[in-house]
Every structure is written in C-alpha cells, then in structure tokens.
C-alpha cells in the first residue's frame, strides 16, 4: 500500500473513532437543511431544482471546512507526532496529499448524506438531475479548495484555533472577492485589469456557474488550480519549517 493510501486511511479512521465525525455530519446536515428551507425559499420559489440548496454551500463551508482542516497539521505539531510522520520514508507531498484526500472524502460523504433533499425535489417535481449532479460536483470541488486553504494554513501553527480563524478569514475574503460591493470599493483605487483579476479569484463567481448546471472547464480548472496551489504552499511551509 502506498504511503498516501496508508495515511489517508489512518486519517479517515481517526475521524470516526472520535466523536468529531458524527458531530460534524449532524451539524452539516442540520445546517444544510435549515439554510435551504428557511433562508433559501426552497418551497416558495415553486421551482423543482436544488439551486437554493447549492447557493448556501459557500457559507456552510465557511464555518465547517475550517473545522475539519484546522487539525490536519496543527494537531500533529502539538502532539509531537509530526516528528514521527516526517521521519517515515514519505515525501511531504505524499503526506499532504494523504491528509487532504482523507478530509476531502469525508466532506464528500457529508455531501452524499444530503441525498434526502434530492429525493424530496424529485418527489415534488421533475428536476433536471444532470444539473443537480453538476451542482454536487461543483460543491465538492469548492469544498476541496477551502480544504486546501485550510490544510496549508494549518501547517503554520500548532494551535488549532489559530488555524481555524486564519482559514475562515481567507475563505471569506475569497468568497467576497467577486461581490459587487467589494469590486466597487476597489474600482477607484486599482486599475481595471487588477479589479478584474480580483473578481476572477472569487469562489462565488466560479461556483455559481457550476451550481446553475454549467460545467465550464475554466471553472473546474480554477478549483483544481486553487487546490494544487494551496497544497503546494503548505508543502513549502512544512519544508521551510524543517530548515527554520
């Protein structure tokens, strides 16, 4: 078994032997439900789709993804197991990938468990299930991007609280980057090209297209690139910390 797989399995198991996994899953599902039915006008819209459900996901992830990612490296640094892990014959990339994949699969599981909402919408009407699948994929990709940010920032500190706050702040910045209010703020101060660049960094902008069912390669590329870049930054930080 490759080190990536071994580490991924260990991490996944560690979620489920502690109450972390169950607490997280319950809160995720309850919040997803509340946001969809109350804040998202699921019924009153009278349209058989899951758009109100997906639109809330960035805000859901803003709180819950940092809670998953904060422990990835901070906990190892705190308990001293980082030394054990880094003296095993694995590269930092393999370790990072194993941990990231475990967390990403876990969030994927949480997403899958929202299936009753999909059943509901199919019972109530006849939605375009292709769009819904695209929405799920997009949501999972976005969760991956948030997770990669969290995994990277978790390497900076041995305090999980600090890791949580840093991640939440960066994520909220990336969500808001594309909002008109934010762009207006920059409009006067920055050249137009830079403002456009900021707008393109926005998670929301790329996610909204996918949530509407448009699987544009550029949006997928954006999320994949975000994941790779933040994981690479995390590996770099781990390596820098070795030479301290």
């Amino acid at each position: 078994m490759s080190p990536v797989m071994a580490l991924m399995r260990r991490e996944l198991r560690s979620y489920f032997v502690t109450p972390v996994a169950y607490v997280f899953l319950v809160i995720f599902l309850v919040l997803a439900g509340i946001l969809t039915f109350y804040a998202g006008d699921f019924y009153d819209r009278g349209i058989a789709d899951l758009q109100p459900f997906f639109v809330m996901h960035p805000w859901l992830y803003l709180i819950l993804v940092p809670a998953v990612s904060m422990r990835l490296w901070a906990e190892e640094a705190k308990s001293g197991t980082l030394e054990l892990l880094q003296t095993l014959p694995t590269s930092l990339w393999q370790a990072m990938l194993g941990k990231f994949l475990a967390a990403w699969l876990f969030i994927g599981l949480a997403l899958l468990l929202t299936f009753p909402i999909w059943i509901t919408v199919n019972y109530l009407g006849s939605p375009d299930n292709g769009i819904i699948i695209a929405g799920y994929l997009g949501s999972w990709l976005m969760a991956g991007a948030f997770l990669a940010i969290g995994a990277c920032l978790s390497t900076l500190t041995s305090s999980q609280v600090v890791a949580f706050i840093l991640t939440a702040v960066v994520c909220v910045l990336l969500i808001l980057a594309g909002q008109p209010e934010v762009l207006d703020f920059f409009q006067g101060a920055l050249p137009r090209k830079l403002v456009n660049a900021v707008a393109h960094l926005s998670m929301l902008r790329h996610f909204e297209a996918i949530a509407r069912g448009v699987l544009d390669l550029r949006d997928i590329f954006y999320f994949v690139l975000t994941i790779v870049a933040w994981l690479a930054a995390g590996v770099l930080i781990l390596d820098l910390k070795r030479s301290h």
Binding site: M1, S2, P3, M5, A6, L7, R9, R10, R13, S14, V17, T18, S79, G80, T81, L82, E83, L84, Q86, T87, L88, P89, T90, S91, R242, S243, H244
Partner: protein, 312 residues
C-alpha cells in the same frame, strides 16, 4: 552505519549543534551524552531528517540525508524524544499503520509484527488505545514502531526516560540483543546507561564534540581511576603512614561516613601496598575497593569546563 560530517544547526544567533562529526559502525552502541540543551536531540533530528542542517550533513548507511532522504529514512529506525504516537489508535492499528507507511509487504509484515510484539511483550495491549496506556507501555510501543521494519540503523532518543528499573532493564536487554549486527545510537543523560549499554561514548556540550572514547577510557580520565577506598573505623593513625608510601599522591576522607580514599601517583598501582600496610597496622577494614574511575565526575569535568570555554 551513522556518520555526521560537520553537522551544524543554527537558530538565528544560537548555534544548537556546531560542526559535529561522529561515526558509528555496525556492532556498536554509541551513546550520545550531554547536559540538557547540549544539542543531542537537535543532532538526532537532523540525522532522522526531521530538521534540515544549516551546514554539513549526515549519512545513514551511506545515504546522505540531504540528497537521498527517503533511502536514509528507510534504513533508519527512530524513536523520537518522548515516544510520540497517535493516541486514539490501538497498538495494533498503530503498528500496522507504520508498516504500511514503510511499505512492508503483508507476508513480511505479519512475521515482523508477531516478532516485535513478542519481543516487547505487547500482546496484552494490542487492542487498547494508546492514550490509555501507561508511560512504560507507551515507550515500548514507540520502540516497537522503531524496529518493526528491522532497520540496520537504530536511533533512540532517551529510550529509558521515565521507565521504572524493571522496564529499564527490559529495554536495555532488548537493545543489547539487537546490537550485534546493527548500528545503534542512543542519547541519554543517565551515566549508568553508558555502563550498561554503550561500547563507545560521545560527549557533547554547547553543541560541540567534547569527548569521543570508550567508557573505560573515560573512566581513566577520572582522578579516581586506580584509587583505593576503604572504610575503617578509627583509621586516623594509619593515614599518616599511608601518606608516606612512595606511590601515594594524596588522601581524602569523606567527612560524612569517614570513608578513606587513597589516590595514586600517575601510573602507579597502589592496591597491594595499601592493603599490606593496613594489614601491618592490624586495622580492621570492613571493605576495600579499587576504583575504576567515576563517570559522573569526568562528565562534569568535560561539560562544565567546556561551558566556561564556550561563554567566556
């Protein structure tokens, strides 16, 4: 084999390890000795690949830890300071995880698992989560993790720290049994351990190499080496006579228990002359001993002397 070549670690202005060059070959148990903060753990962390050297390098089985870190790590079994492990895992899960991370094939793995569990007497704890184990058991789990892949080189950072005398004995026996065809580097600040385990000793202080010798050679540096000590109530008269012996350099009496220590002149052997003199005087000697030398005294002499040298 383990080799360090001018291994150096600096944190800003502080030099934790300063151009340290040591060498250990198969069959050797090399003891890394030094006061707290001497740089033992930092040196080991660099050899294990957890920290990168500022300058110099280390080699494990010939693999440079900077150029071929994965090969070096594969050849090495390492017990970090404090024996960290994942508390929520059971002992079985933890060892299986380590074997998978090390890429052990499952048939080899099963055999090694049974062997290691037997050797460290972990059978009863296999399905217990590590965080509920006693300190001694946790240390044994850490050792099991370090030897599970049967490494040619073993590096143990304070392997008996926090163990009771019986557990210490078990761990020392284990290290002794493994020493024959392996290279073993252990760090310790227990001098008794040096006698019990090591066939060579490296003393560092302030990050620098201060001594590299066998335990016997170190003992010879002690002023107690070759001295004769005895307890004899009412030996006051004979002290003067002893002092007149041509081989004797000096005499000290312990103010607490009245034990007399007679120091020889360099190169002289004084056990027999002292004994015969005492016999002539008709003194009742309850016990007489030829001193090998005191490691603690040599240790102090080497490490304290160097400190004043390092920070004038």
């Amino acid at each position: 084999m383990i080799e360090t070549d001018k291994l150096t670690k600096r944190y800003g202005h502080l030099t934790a390890v300063d151009a340290l060059s040591i060498y250990a070959e198969p069959g050797q148990v090399l003891g890394l000795l030094g006061p707290n903060g001497a740089g033992k753990t930092t040196a080991m962390r660099m050899i294990a690949g957890f920290q990168a050297p500022t300058a110099g390098t280390a080699r494990v089985c010939g693999y440079d830890v900077r150029k071929e870190p994965l090969k070096a790590k594969r050849a090495l079994g390492y017990l970090p300071e404090g024996a960290p492990s994942y508390g929520e895992m059971t002992v079985r899960e933890f060892l299986v995880f380590i074997m998978r991370m090390r890429g052990l094939r499952s048939d080899v793995g099963r055999r090694r698992f049974d062997e290691v569990v037997g050797r460290l007497e972990l059978e009863g704890a296999l399905n217990v989560s590590i965080e509920t184990l006693s300190k001694g058991l946790r240390r044994r789990v850490g050792l099991a993790q370090a030897i599970v892949h049967d490494p040619p080189v073993l590096m143990l950072d304070e392997p008996t720290d926090g163990l009771d005398p019986n557990q210490k004995h078990t761990v020392r026996q284990l290290i002794d049994a493994m020493a024959r065809e392996r290279t073993i580097l252990i760090s310790t600040h227990l001098l008794e351990e040096v006698h019990a385990l090591c066939n060579r000793v490296v003393i560092i202080a302030g990050g620098r190499l201060r001594a590299d010798a066998t335990p016997a050679e170190l003992e010879e540096r002690s002023r107690y080496h070759g001295a004769v000590s005895f307890s004899a109530p009412g030996s006051g008269i004979s002290q003067e006579m002893l002092g007149r012996l041509p081989q004797v350099a000096g005499i000290e009496v312990d103010p607490l228990d009245g034990r007399v220590t007679v120091f020889p002149k360099p190169g002289e052997r004084i056990l027999e002359p002292v004994e015969s003199l005492l016999r002539q005087q008709g003194l009742e000697v309850s016990e007489i001993q030829l001193e090998r030398g005191r490691l603690d005294e040599v240790f102090r002499q080497i490490t304290l002397g160097s400190e004043t040298e390092a920070h004038p």
